[in-house]
Amino acid sequence: MLSWTFTGNRPIYAQIVEQIQLKILSGEYQPGQKVASIRDLAAEAGVNPNTMQKAMGELEAADLVFTQRTSGRFITEDTEKIAKIRRHYAEQSVLDFIKQMQGLGYGTDEMITLVSAIIKEENK
């Protein structure tokens, strides 16, 4: 289980939004799963309920979480949307990687070769 960690220089609600997105991507939160109450989540994450409320608000605005009036909050079942977000994070990681490698002087072909080689090693 991914535990909640926060850094100091960004608003916590923004970090919560990210971490919940990651939990959705990793499968810790399943599509359609019921979300715990704001208070319980806040207690679990060790944050102010108002902060958690704000984060939920953002997630709802992004359609990642929806509220059914009487039954509560649920993770979206829109797997396409989830896939889009996964893609977004993946692209971000790849772009960061490419930047780093370029900084080390690697060319495109070298990068691809290196990635394949290391994956092969890891799988042994």
Partner: protein
């Protein structure tokens, strides 16, 4: 009155020395607010004034629009640094005491929390460790359905697990109608729990802001800002 706590030109002198200097302050309901400052900055004085344990030298302090008195004491829950439990009582006597004097005391809630911490109702307060007594006191205070909770250094000198428990209790106790004012100089642990912070120094307010504002606009944590503002 929409503000749960309001100070207007609040000043307090003790034996000549000014502890609070013309404080103007407004706290809204439904917030968890940190009162942050070095030792001797006036945090405890402000809290005692809100409790009616001190009377202002000049200016005024209002709880939901009223001066501190019998009526406000019904809706203000106070956790001082000191342990104020009577030696001769057992835990259940203390529960009965609170239930007797405070209409808004929830015995079931307190019993729940005591059970979770393995504190028996028959335990004598006299034989308890300091840490356990502090937990009992916290439980008693948080089991009151108050409009304003004043916690003076609730996590100072407490082990990390207890600290987590205390903060968790504060969070799960949250109500939109009530405000919790936490006075502390240990900011890192508490920061995530706070909506707003007030920096107080040498009897004056240096800053009042939401935590988000500080992080978004200044790009630092409250802890880092505190160190900057109160650099020795």
């Amino acid at each position: 009155m929409s503000f749960i706590l309001e100070c207007r030109g609040l000043t307090k002198h003790y034996a000549g020395r000014p502890a609070l200097n013309g404080i103007d302050l407004q706290l809204e309901r439904g917030r968890i607010i940190g009162l942050l400052g070095p030792n001797g900055s006036g945090k405890t004085t402000l809290i005692k004034l809100a409790n009616g344990l001190l009377t202002p030298t000049s200016g005024e302090i209002l709880i939901a629009g009223s001066k501190p008195g019998i009526e406000t004491k019904k809706t203000v829950a106070y956790l001082p640094e000191q342990t104020y439990l009577s030696d001769w009582m057992r835990v259940r006597d203390m529960l009965a005491y609170f239930a007797d004097f405070y209409e808004n005391f929830r015995v079931d809630k307190a019993q729940d929390m005591l059970r979770r911490l393995n504190i028996g109702e028959g335990d004598r307060l006299k034989t308890m460790s300091k840490g356990t007594k502090e937990k009992v006191q916290l439980i008693l205070v948080m089991s009151r359905e108050a409009d304003l909770y004043l916690l003076d250094e609730p996590i100072g000198g407490v082990d990390p697990a207890a600290r987590d428990y205390i903060l968790e209790t504060i969070i799960s106790n949250y109500s939109e109608n009530a405000t919790v004012l936490i006075s502390t100089h240990l900011i890192t642990d508490v920061e995530k729990v706070l909506d707003e912070v007030i920096f107080i120094n040498q009897g004056s307010i240096a800053l009042q802001s939401t935590v988000d504002e500080i992080r978004e606009n200044r790009g630092t944590s409250v802890d880092a800002l505190f160190r900057e503002v109160f650099r020795c």
